[in-house]
Symmetry: C2
Subunit: 469 residues, 2 copies
């Protein structure tokens, strides 16, 4: 087994070895037990320590996945689905060892239905690949979690990102899924109609289940027409409160804003260094408006008024593609730029989401709490949804700092839950947020467990994620 | 037990009697076994024969529901939740007898959060009651299934209706639910944040579960700002194809149309008789646009161009409330007007929904099929979603006609499924659509059954609905 501690009841080495040999016999070129590849398949980007699978196997079709699942199920070997490995909460870790099924070869765009504004893709298709493919047809897939994640992984973690305020999350944009269940059966969760009242919503049950119920192999998505006009704007504020209040008021006044992103002054500073920019180091909103020319003009004017009422210092905007890209560059680089603030540091990403009326309060209390604990981390938020991230930068070898980081993260999750929010708006639970689900759900958590036990009685599907059984 | 056949394994009369006595002892004024009341609680409006519960009990709080469920669970007595009794597929029937829990006294609007565009209501609140309450705050709840249904019932059946094309269905508009589970536990499925990636989507699991997993007692809903401008229009067409193609093209071109309803010439005729109107008896689209003045003007102009390209004969529109109401009167009366075409007839409502690119084809084939079978029924469709209803009018005492109606209904469901659509877009499965789920879901239906067995192992929650176990 791998380097991680193996809890009692884990599959015995012999069985794993037999499964690996059987996989090799079936696909000589698609199975690897090399440490480098296994390590890459447990690379979590963040503070989670990697827990390596026993082997990695590459799947090319739904039927491949079915064969692998059947083999693992017969031997009670854990299965960990892998798309691009860009999840942040240890979703791809293998705490009980087992087989990592890499779906990245499943890159076929199976069908585009322009008349229905939908498409069906294999799980390994990435969002950028899909959008490159769709562009000529005037269509796009709006969900943008930052990383060029796989569509299957985005469905599995209920991803969202910058466009969710206008277009919804994966919850709203998946029409149907094909999945391989723990007993090897292939199910299609729904048909392609835009609505249905035919029985339980299996699509939504699998969206966000993080591989613990079945392996998503094909996804039918809603698409959207590329807007006639896109305007991007950048708007620094005197105070963080003013920036938050602007986002809140924009949502409340019904502006169909496509993106509204908050970067605090620390994040702007990081972006200035990282991308050699000269932005004012102040809390800043990055916004984007989609629509007809007249519609966008109207949205921009209304937003500008609201921003002015809340202490905006400046308001730069453009509808020209190259200028828009330049205006938004800092936002695009935010995820990678924060490391310049503390080179070599570890990062603990947080992900709370609260009702938008509590957003300013939650952000400001969190900022105070960071200072109080002598911690350090920029803030980026999809504030139109009430969702924001603190990227806490710390030194893993500083035991006291680690302790403070952990208590900060816990306090933040509980602060959000106390405001009727959630410990994770879009990253998912994985290993990192398990501790908070009791507080967030109470008795409902047992209902999740009952569903898990019914669907995966042997707990072979990505065990050790979301909750303990 | 009641008049229906009682399958083996149904609860013995003695146990039902004991439960009823216990309920009476607890709430002397809230339990009834009168035939009239029991009959009213199994009134299905349509072709389903009523199957009466053994008793009706009125619940005032979530805790009341919990007590009733615990009592029934201890005695394995079926429980049938009842809101307003406006479901169409036998959802409130009691094929195995049992206790109908009437939640209509649960009429409290518990909280409105204007800053979050959301509210929490008890399950018995009706949509009109809610909208009357919200109007002064400039907010509205958009889902409009026609009947003044209860919010709990609308969530349980995943209702939608005329506004769904713009605002989504109950699937998209429920943020969180409180429900009493079969073991009497009270769960809250989610918190109030607009998005979350924290574990399984229990909210969506219960939305559309038709009382078979638990009883919804409180619902947190998304709300929307009342649009600055609303324009209504009526637009007759030379052909049914032209009307369908207009709806399809409007959706494809991204017009954020709020409502787009098709009435065929037969339905218009019925409305003319019923409401004493003088509309051209032709396939007609009733449309509504929401937005700013400039936005609505733009939508109307674009739609008018599309309609003209598809053979519209006329285009009447208005933004004045009283004129809008007058223009749309035929649409509002459609549900009740069809009876004038065949007084005393029974009605079999159908409810297929297909990908919008297949809509015209599905409607036209269905119309041909009606004629071929010598049947008779107007068509009303929420065509922006690809969803349409044929209200087949027939004489229950004419055995041959009944046979033809049933084969028509079956052929229609399979036609929609063959077009990658669903047998029910918004009415739910109940008893009426159970026969089609195998064709629609295949293996996935067993996954639904596994979830049902895990959550309700004794099958006391609305048994005999959606699927057999």
């Amino acid at each position: 087994m791998n380097e991680s501690s193996v809890p009692a009841g884990a599959s015995p080495l012999a069985a794993v070895g037999q499964v690996i040999e059987a996989l090799r016999a079936r696909w000589p070129d698609r199975v690897s037990t090399s440490e480098a590849l296994r390590r890459q398949h447990a690379n979590t980007f963040t503070w989670h320590r990697p827990q390596l699978p026993d082997a990695v196997v590459f799947a090319h079709t739904t039927e491949d996945v079915q064969e692998i699942v059947r083999l693992c199920a017969a031997n009670q070997i854990p299965i960990i689905p892998f798309g691009t490995g860009t999840s942040l909460e240890g979703q791809i870790n293998a705490p009980y060892g087992g087989i990592s099924i890499d779906l990245s070869p499943m890159k076929e765009i199976l069908a585009v239905f322009p008349g229905d504004l939908s498409c069906t893709v294999q799980a390994g298709v990435t969002r950028k690949q899909l959008n490159d493919y769709l562009r000529d047809q005037g269509l796009f897939f709006p969900i943008d979690p930052g990383a060029d994640a796989s569509i299957g992984g985005m469905a599995a973690t209920r991803a969202s990102g910058t466009n969710a305020v206008r277009y919804g999350t994966m919850r709203e944009n998946v029409l149907s899924l094909t999945a391989v269940m723990p007993d090897g059966r292939i199910v299609r969760t729904a048909r392609r109609a835009r609505k249905s009242a035919a029985g339980y919503d299996l699509t939504r049950l699998l969206v966000g289940s993080e591989g613990t119920l079945g392996i998503i192999t094909e996804v039918t998505l809603k698409l959207h027409g590329i807007p006639e006009t896109i305007a991007a704007a950048v708007c620094p504020f005197e105070t963080l409160q003013g920036a938050c209040d602007t986002a809140i008021a924009a949502i409340q006044s019904g502006i169909p804003i496509a993106r509204v992103e908050l970067l605090d002054e620390l994040q702007i500073k990081a972006c200035n260094v990282y991308s050699k920019l000269t932005l004012t180091e102040a809390p800043t909103l990055f916004v984007e408006f989609h629509g007809s020319q007249a519609g966008v003009d109207e949205q921009v004017a209304l937003f500008q008024t609201i921003a002015g009422d809340n202490g905006s210092r400046d308001f730069q905007w453009s509808t020209k593609p190259e200028e828009r890209t330049k205006l938004w560059q800092a936002r695009h680089d935010a995820a990678f730029s924060c490391m310049v603030l503390k080179p070599g540091a570890n990062v603990l990403p947080t992900d709370v989401c609260v009702p938008i009326s509590r957003l300013a309060e939650c952000v400001l209390e969190t900022k105070d709490d960071l200072a109080r604990r002598n911690l350090f981390g920029p803030i980026v938020g999809h504030v139109g949804d009430g969702n924001f991230h603190v990227a806490v930068l710390f030194d893993r070898d500083d035991a006291d700092e680690v302790k403070r980081v952990k208590s900060f993260s816990k306090a933040l999750a509980h602060r959000a839950i106390a405001m009727d929010g959630t410990c994770t708006g879009e990253h998912g639970v994985g290993q990192g947020k398990m501790a908070y689900l009791d507080a967030e759900y109470g008795e409902a958590l047992d209902l999740m467990r009952a569903v898990k036990r019914a669907v995966d009685p042997d707990n072979i599907m990505n065990p050790g994620k979301i909750f303990t059984l």
